[in-house]
Symmetry: C2
Subunit: 512 residues, 2 copies
């Protein structure tokens, strides 16, 4: 579709990360910008939507294995419903798109296009839940939401409409709801680490950065190659705030009426942004074989006199791989040469290229090339399925290792304010500091260098605190989950900004 | 959740079809009505959403096998885009919900919440298509759309927001686009007949009832038990109308620029309405095993002294069925008796009930009962998987046969106006009549008895006409498709209303 000279990536990932990202998204045919009059919207093309479908399939399977059912709630929320939980309306009102006219009439009450659905789901949970037998109750929906942010558009990272899933659950006890919160956070971590080849950190958002109305907001954070953190997904323990506002109560075994504890949790197509940004390079998109639309592309290399023999051999290999359930593409176009094809499939992110020429056909081999680094392997024709699958694992491991190396070498510790500012300024990445817990100390840093506290570790202490404040609810300590991300030893520590005693370990970073 | 006396269906399917339907939807936990201020909207509960997921899975698999890729286009369409195809704006404008304010600002141009997406997809098809090599191009999206109809809400049949898929394709020739139109219509027919156990008629809408801007609108029509027809899905051949309006052109092999031919096609959750309405009865929901959330429910029947033995046997059967991939539910609740359980699972539409008591455990048998008619079969324990699967087929065949009998016995022929009015008035169903093709003659009938022309057969003549008017496009006659639904012999016939010569066979019916 494009002229040859337009095909390749012209921007540098290291020097112009933003422009490079936009170019990869466009040229790998992932997305287009929205039409005139709709800046901030994107059109998700099939090659990107296919990635989203694989994320959906991975998560949806795990949700269903762990008691979640899908449902569908209306696109609109009456303003009065949005106002029933005051923090929700304060948190989202500035970003809401409103429908005031429909079917040529003014509406009596204006309707919000859903920015998130707690306010319309909670009233139905209230209807559906009568007794402890109805708990836990878990519903999820895959939808789009609209949040009218004024910031610059960045496909999959910042758009006024985005695709996501939102799960909503109700539980009898605080301990059950907290276990649910962590179960979903762990499923998000697995989506990043086991499907998208991106290591993440688990943490909690500071008090002032929680989801509106939440008791605790947990997050998985991924480090992008430009040193900024991406909030990869969030899982909220909502306490009884929404249950109180929307009357979600149940009759317990002892006939007492109790208020339920609720959670909500969501992962958006921002995961695709992180995927594209993390692995891709100056040749274009790089994808792990787990999600790539084509996992392996076969490029036959022939002269007129070898064409028939090479093509027959290549088709046979393609059929063999296809029969084994491998997503294989045989690029037998006559009107493009192999070099052009190599470039095009590299741009589109196919993880493994199989080259088949007269030598391979004669020797009974296939030459396999890894997309990330060009490593070349000679595979035996007779073992092609097993070898290709092994190479998929090898490519995945390579991508994960590179991302892990970036992450591990970019978590630093700062003991003083100047060290914090200097480290973020010089290296980006995460900087762990002792913190008093006061928002003002974060603001001071934010004003100076646009870095914020993206998370604090979910310590076993905090888990305990969640439980021990819950004396009446039959807490089961087995349900608590420990995070991998450890706190600093805060004994005698003082806040890196204000010098008051430190109670938390703050992970500062610039963020998307 | 409900009191016992509220559990059952109280309305009669035959005498109060509308009230009965609403009661089944509510009590089988399929949907709730929307909140105050949002009449016309429904909340789709997990038991109904699960049905939609099976419809999605069935169709989506077939779409992908036939060259369709999923994508996602924005929820909103700028008013100016909607106006670029004049018939679209005239057809949908009265039903559009408008966003005029977002993020606390008035928008410069108001945005339509998508009522259908031709107007926002076509401009991108225009960008993506350059040469004949890019054709055919096929995209589909699974979304909701909003159409602000003023009529009374009927869950899944008439709601202001509904879930659907919309496919959009572009082709080089009229013949290719027509073949695409019929391919999708046949996939819709298969969804009804092979998944939902509902026979349908294929036809075309009369000229005046086509999709706005379409050349031809084809439809599958299903007959409901109250004698009304439901438009089950539509597939539109759009000609070059949209391609002209949105500049969808391609460079042909001879370097000439040509206008593409486009199609669009959609199936909505109305299919769920037809499913519920067709098979269910005065005991509640009836579902074919193909889509039922639970395909078989095991109800163990015990006394204190036999409990352990019966439950162990029942669990073993359940595991056996589960291992075979059958969706089985073992209802081992202690606090409900078997009669209560029978009623509850009948209400919820489980196609097959397995009763296991001490006799079955001793004899090595399982008693299987068909939901639709209570037929009982004694299955050998050792052959339980095969027998259950056979009984699924038997239940499916039973449901299909009943619906087919209803359909076949309700297609009648009328030669005169009074015969047409009398037959529809007395029997409902479809009445085939010779018709001149004039809208006025339909209006006369509509005014008198609220019946309309729901379809005319897609005759092989019409297929030929599609092709022969297409002299420049390399028509391939193999791509034409014949419909099963035959026209009357119209030789010397006159229109049933106006007595002018008849050119069409009209299927009159009342419709949803």
């Amino acid at each position: 579709m494009s002229e040859d000279q337009d095909l390749g990536i012209t921007q540098s990932k290291i020097h112009n990360t933003g422009e490079w990202y936009a170019e990869v998204v466009q040229k790998a045919e992932l997305a287009n910008y929205g039409p005139e009059g709709m800046s901030g919207f994107i059109v998700t093309r099939p090659r990107a939507y296919g990635l989203w479908e694989r994320v959906q399939s991975y998560l949806d399977t795990r949700f269903k294995q762990t008691g979640v059912q899908n449902a569908y709630f209306p696109l609109f929320i009456p303003e009065g419903y949005l106002e029933r939980e005051k923090e929700i309306v304060e948190g989202f009102d500035p970003e809401v798109a409103w429908v005031e006219q429909a079917g040529r009439n003014e509406l009596e009450e204006r309707l919000a296009v859903r920015p998130t659905s707690e306010s319309i789901i909670a009233p139905y949970l209230s209807q559906w839940i009568r007794s402890y037998r109805d708990l836990p109750l878990r519903v999820n929906q895959w939808t789009s939401v609209v949040r009218w942010e004024a910031t610059e558009t960045k496909p999959f990272f910042r758009t006024k409409e985005f695709l996501w899933q939102e799960g909503h659950t109700a539980h009898a006890t605080r301990a059950d709801a907290w276990a649910e919160t962590m179960l979903r956070l762990n499923q998000y971590e697995s989506t990043y680490e086991d499907l998208l080849a991106i290591p993440v950190l688990q943490g909690a958002k500071p008090e002032h950065d929680k989801f509106p109305g939440a008791d605790t907001t947990t997050t998985v954070e991924a480090l992008m190659p430009d040193g900024k953190s991406v909030q990869g997904a969030t899982s909220h323990y909502l306490g009884t705030e929404f249950a109180d506002a929307f009357d979600i109560t149940y009759t317990d075994t002892d006939e007492t009426s109790r208020v339920a504890h609720t959670t909500s949790w969501g992962l958006s197509w921002r995961a695709l942004g992180a995927l594209i940004m993390t692995h891709s390079d100056n040749q274009g998109l790089v994808l792990p074989p787990t999600v790539a639309p084509e996992q392996v592309v076969i490029v036959p290399i022939w002269q007129t006199e070898t064409k028939e023999r090479v093509l027959e051999y290549a088709e046979d290999v393609a059929n063999n791989l296809d029969d084994a359930g491998i997503r294989v593409e045989l690029d037998d176009r006559d009107d493009q040469n192999p070099g052009f094809k190599f470039n095009e499939w590299e741009l589109k992110g196919v993880p493994l290229r199989a080259e088949i020429g007269p030598d391979e056909a004669t020797e009974g081999t296939v030459t396999l090339i890894h997309r990330p680094d060009g490593e070349s392997i000679t595979a035996e024709r007779s073992e092609i399925v097993e070898t290709v699958q092994e190479q998929f694992d090898a490519v995945y491991a390579k991508l994960y290792a590179a991302a892990e190396e970036t992450l591990n070498s970019n978590i630093r510790i700062a003991e003083t304010r100047s060290e914090l500012l200097g480290t973020i300024g010089q290296h980006g990445g995460y900087v762990k500091t002792p913190w008093c817990g006061d928002e003002g100390c974060e603001t001071a840093i934010k004003d100076e260098i646009a870095a914020e506290i993206v998370m604090v570790p979910i310590s076993s202490d905090e888990d305990d605190e969640q439980d021990t404040t819950d004396e009446n609810m039959g807490v089961n300590n087995d349900t608590t989950v420990e995070s991998n991300e450890k706190s600093l030893d805060l004994t005698d520590s003082t806040c890196v900004v204000c010098d008051n005693p430190a109670f938390k370990t703050a992970y500062f970073a610039k963020s998307y």
